[in-house]
Amino acid sequence: LNAAAGRAPRQHVRFLPGPAGDGGGATGLVAARVPVLAEHPLVRGPRFRRLKIGAGHRLDVKASGVFVLGIGHGNKLLTDLYNCHLTKVYTVGGLFGKATDDFSDTGKLVEKTTFDHITREKLERILAVIQGSNHKALLMYSNIDMKTQEAYELAVKGLIRPMGKSPPIITAIRCLQFALPEFQLEIHCLHETQQYLRKIVHEIGLELKSSAACTQVRRIRDGVFTLEDALLRTHWNLQSIQNAISDCQLKVKTELEKTLG
């Protein structure tokens, strides 16, 4: 940013001593436009010394995926996006047969169990029940009076969502891959932490009368930002960032208008 050419320094008119209009060595004042010295780069220093960068929803050390940042005035949009309470989508990988103390596969081993009795059908049943009870929690924490007609209309459209603080809620969960002992789930959730998702994997293992540990948590969508909008490590340069910001501007604006009115 600092290497980019800044705007041209202001010019002002100074009366400098110089050779006078008529010949000879007499010195007079000549009007000349010279750049203002105070705006010389060596006087002023680099233009950008600090940038205000804010982070969106947290992503912990063992997880990976889309991480939204706001720069400068964009931080105000970050709070608005937070208040929209949009769902985030994760791919969570798990491993049957092991139970660890911090629910991930790098933790201390607590117990090893067999898992040959687990089938995809049993897993899907458990996932259906998790989805059902979380759907109920979704309706309960949205703080809408269930007896009104508008609550019914919103429930039909599926638009009931908690618009305030609430415990983590999973809006949808399904199994993408199942190859014993590994499996992969796609989880759509609200107000969650990655450790909560690892705990869900552990509890799925317990419910299936075995044990499970989480191997991978990857956020693939955060509100309107998907993997396609995310910048790779190799693209962390000014041009790509500027392109990314301009691409997402319209999406963010429409989403904010739709939700917050």
Partner: protein, 455 residues
């Protein structure tokens, strides 16, 4: 100085034992990767469920408990000091049963559970027994008297000819009478017979409490495959597709063309003559029947617009075809004031009066209205969720999906919806049951469900 001198003298006499050469104890340092891996591989493996582990069958009950209909005596009479009497069980509570229960029915304050085993005890009953709707339950204190309230699932002795071969297929309960269907010995009826609903002649001034009488019905055109109890009448569906009825008829619910009492099961005519009926339903004073071609027929009480699509009269005593253009109908259920049908595509339609399930604004309609499938969990993410069964209580509705989830809505009388709240529910709401719900029976103020565990 004196002590030191003493110690020195002692030291001279006997040397203290040399310290054990063990070195100082050190705390365990971080283990290397190899040590951790070896410890992990050496850890024992536990087995909690084998490959052939079967899913267990369970029964869950909820609702009003003081009548004993839930079958948990400690709710009514606590057996331990710290327990308090529980008038309403708001969420599903597991009921321990000895056998796998294949059919359950909820009456007005009592419940019947039956298993299709060949053991001697096939049917259990609990709840109100003032009209011997649970048979004669001999009191332990006084061997000549019977119990008026049965708090625990108690066996009902049936006068079977071949008790170790006959199986009980289905049970059904009405206001004060019950029907038990067997595979080879016809239908057994017990309870109140003041309107002939038990299928036998009405005896004047008969006392129904503490009665040992269980009547057996065998004369039908073919084997009976379904029995249904309305409030004070009984319906029987035979294998050939005919429907028989007996009992109270003042609302035309017997469908026999008159408004009198019928004490012998008589075949129904009207629009269902010659039609192969595959399902009959009733709980109050209105009845619905579904034919194999997907048509629905109704008769009985129509004060709440249940049959207003074909007639203005409030009592219909002959089965009439209800010409609804909603698709081929698979299953129908009748409540006290509202009716519900399920079509082949898996859509649910309601009509009648009361809390129908489409919000507080829809209180009555004569034409079926569809309940949007998104309320049952259908969405773009789960497009193959379908409603598999529908059931009715007196003023409640229940729907079971193909994923084993139970949705209830209607008037929450004494906590019978099982949602955990006491408010009425105006649109389908999920009941959290720890298992896959296979079947549910709805009563006036309680419900019973048969559930399979997950794994």
């Amino acid at each position: 100085r004196g002590a030191g001198a003493m110690w020195g003298a002692l030291r001279g006499a006997r040397r203290p034992p040399p310290p054990l050469c063990r070195g100082l104890a050190k705390p365990a340092g971080p283990q290397s990767v190899r040590q951790l891996r070896e410890a992990e591989e050496a850890a024992p493996v536990f087995r909690y469920a084998g490959k052939a582990a079967k899913r267990k069958d369970r029964v869950f009950v909820w609702g009003f408990s003081y009548s004993g209909a839930l079958g948990v005596p400690s709710f009514v009479k606590p057996d331990v000091g710290w327990k308090k009497p529980r008038r309403i069980q708001g969420t599903p509570y597991r009921l321990e049963t000895e056998e796998k229960i294949s059919s359950a029915a909820c009456g007005y304050g009592f419940t019947l559970l039956s298993s299709n085993t060949t053991d001697i005890t096939k049917v259990w009953g609990m709840g109100l027994n003032k009209d011997s709707q649970l048979g004669f339950q001999r009191s332990i204190r006084d061997r000549t008297k019977g119990y008026e309230y049965v708090l625990e699932p108690s066996p009902i002795p049936l006068p079977l000819e071949k008790p170790q071969q006959t199986r009980v297929l289905q049970v059904s309960c009405g206001r004060a009478h019950s029907l038990i269907l067997t595979d080879s010995e016809g239908v057994f009826t017990m309870g109140n017979n003041s309107y002939g609903q038990c299928g036998r002649k009405v005896v004047e001034d008969e006392t129904y409490s503490e009665s040992h009488l269980i009547h057996q019905l065998k004369e039908f055109d073919s084997g009976v495959v379904q029995v249904v109890c309305g409030q004070d009448h009984s319906l029987f569906r035979t294998k050939k597709g005919a429907v028989y009825a007996c009992g109270w008829g003042a609302d035309g619910q017997t469908g026999l063309g008159h408004y009198n009492i019928t004490s012998v099961p008589t075949k129904l005519r009207g629009d269902i003559a010659g039609v192969n009926i595959i399902q009959v339903s009733s709980y109050g004073d209105c009845c619905l029947a579904v034919s194999d071609e997907g048509d629905v027929f109704g008769w009985g009480n129509s004060e709440y617009l249940q049959l207003a699509s074909v007639t203005e009269t409030t009592q219909v005593n002959v089965p009439r075809h209800l010409p609804f253009k909603i698709g081929k109908i698979k299953e129908a259920a009748c409540g006290g004031t509202g009716n519900i049908v399920l079509t082949e595509e898996g859509n649910v339609f309601v009509w009648g009066y009361g809390i129908l399930g489409k919000g507080p604004n829809l209180t009555e309609t004569a034409v079926p209205e569809m309940i949007p499938p998104s309320l049952f969990g259908w969405s773009d993410f789960n497009p193959d969720i379908r409603v598999a069964h529908v059931r009715c209580g007196l003023s409640q509705f229940a729907a079971l999906t193909n994923r084993g989830e139970l949705f209830v809505w209607g008037k929450n009388l004494r906590g019978c919806l099982g949602t955990g709240r006491m408010e009425d529910q105006y649109f389908p709401w999920r009941v959290t049951v720890p298992g896959e719900v296979v079947d549910v029976a709805c009563g006036v103020d309680h419900m019973v469900s048969m559930v399979k565990s997950f794994t």
